[in-house]
Amino acid sequence: MRHLLTTKDLARDDAVRILDVAEEMAATADREVKKLPALRGKTIVNLFFEDSTRTRLSFESAAKRLSADVITFSAKGSSVSKGESLKDTAQTLVAMGADAIVVRHHASGAAHRLAHAGWIDAAIINAGDGTHEHPTQALLDAFTLRRRLHGEDARGRALDGARVVIVGDILHSRVARSNVWLLATLGAEVHLVAPRTLQPAGIEAWPATVHELLDDALATGPDAVMMLRIQRERMHDAFFPTEREYARIWGLTAERFAALPADTIVMHPGPMNRGLEIASVAADSTRSTVLEQVTNGVSIRMAVLYLLVSGTDGGRA
């Protein structure tokens, strides 16, 4: 694996391997010394054109726990905000010795261009590109689900037979896209729920069952319900009439939460709009994995950085 750009192109074996390595990485969090020397001497650059404190800190944490040197480059107040192009910024960073670049960008396909345009030679990790993909988010979601389902027996397993419902603004969600491809690859049964206005063209061909009403999807008795953040501004572009109506039909209300099977977990990539897509009682319950998703994010990102950068088959050969 040279780059991690999408989950669409991630083979099942590679995906399971990332999850397994993440288990070992997670174990370091319980040790006295939480660091591993595996990436000592390597330089990881966080290239964040889009503001994102959570994901940025998660990657920084992951890189530091592997003893790598981390440089963070965020768009505000940098040469980028003065108009420097993606190409020039990337070339400057590689000239400074970056072994891998973690890139978050507001344009779909930005990570792909960095990896394939021939401008630079470094491992590229997509930390979210526009509305296209956010592979490490999907991986940490899968890791979280796998652990909740199989506990100590998780190693080596995929998600065969797990039933997952993903609800929200699928059209604009890179988290939804990455999750659909990865969950399907790992053998899960995926259900998508969104008003038709928030369904992307061609969704009928996606490896998932599409529902227009949340209650229909919840009636299948899912193992996990993943709520996606809904942006309030979408109301002004006529995607849905009011927040009230959205919450009533597509929100995980207290009533819907109470009606879920006892073991169903509730997931959310954060940040949450309490009261809009998710009720507080759901978000704060023991079945909510919101906080462990954050912890698992560091482990997954450690696994990805290790697998892409440590050997001669990754990073700069």
């Binding site: 192009s85 993606l86 344009a107 779909s108 261009r113 345009a117 992307p200 061609g202 969704i203």
Partner: protein, 441 residues
Amino acid sequence: MSGILIRGASLMGGDRADIRIADGAIVAVGSASAESGDHVIDADGLVALPGLVDLHTHLREPGGEASETVLTGTRAAAAGGFTAVFAMANTTPVADTAGVVEQVEALGRQHGYATVRPIGAVTVGLAGQQLAELGAMAASRAQVRVFSDDGHCVADPLMMRRALEYVAAFDGVVAQHAQEPRLTEGAQMNEGPLSGELGLTGWPAAAEESIIARDVLLAEHTNSRLHVCHVSTAGSVDVVRWAKARGILVTAEVTPHHLLLTDETARDYDARFKVNPPLRRAEDVAALRAAVADGTIDIVATDHAPHPDESKECAWSEAAFGMVGLESALSVVQHALVDTGMLDWASVARVLSTTPAHIGRLAGYDRPLSVGAPAHLTLVDPAASRTWSPGELRGRSRNTPYTGLTLPGRVVATVHGGVPTVLDGALVDAETVAAAAGTGR
């Protein structure tokens, strides 16, 4: 100016004949002999076509000279076999006054590579709020007959109605860039399964078709001429066909790239394939080809849109829309339509020369390759083959989508009003062309 003798060219793919040119006109077709001082071209194996006329080009001057100028754009045109180009109005300043259009026309005339007919904006500043001085532009030395806000749609139905009515007085035509703005805000590529997968905002076909449908009804209601720019969908073809069957005075154009490329090219997020209207499905390409063959689409026009490298070497959503196309147009048309048996060379002459000239009311192209007609022609070697690269371009910008493709045909010579602009496959230098243009005819 010396004469030119072309020996043994196949006239529009038909019988072989000699063509002699003197004093800017064709003086003999058939069997002719050289007179002293004539430049002789052995056209064995070459097809002679009337000089090509592009009804839709962006020359960028004034204001966008970093991408293209009238000089570099008309050189690119000549290299592609064109002897006339209609220059779109979305320059800086916009071509919405007699002053700007006269400037652009004069530059074309000075440089001499091709006849430049400026297109006048429909509305002031292309803003869609107020009609531009269409009459003044028509009466100017630029003799504007084609009006377009291309780049933008004349979306306000009342404004479109008024424009259609108003230009009738001077035999003008409104050329619409059909794109309903509210349905295409932030649009990046064709709306379809691929846009859903790639996370790029879609540009639905209905946003083009609905405007064309509205406009043909307005054209019918006002009994005026309508021209539809760069038709890109099968649905649009159906609307135009329906309109023509009703006797509506509508003409339509298609670009070479819409006859060849589909939205699959977006998969790599390579912005060289980003264009407005976007590349569509294979079914649309097939429908457009059939429409050119059956005449529903009247002409091919390049929509030559030069952009600097930095506007294309970036993330897709940050990139500019557009491709250059003057140098490749004839080759792409040959590849998509002639070599597939859908069109013969005589029809190529119709869609790339006679008809666009007619729509734009450009004189001198109604009797192609006939004695007495102005000497606008091009000689093509249909058996040649090129692997396309930016090295084949002659304009200032390099944003071509065909790099790596093998395309047939090569322009060997182009003659503009008796002045050779391309000889032996290479552009004639600017000083010579300008001097000949100044003294000739």
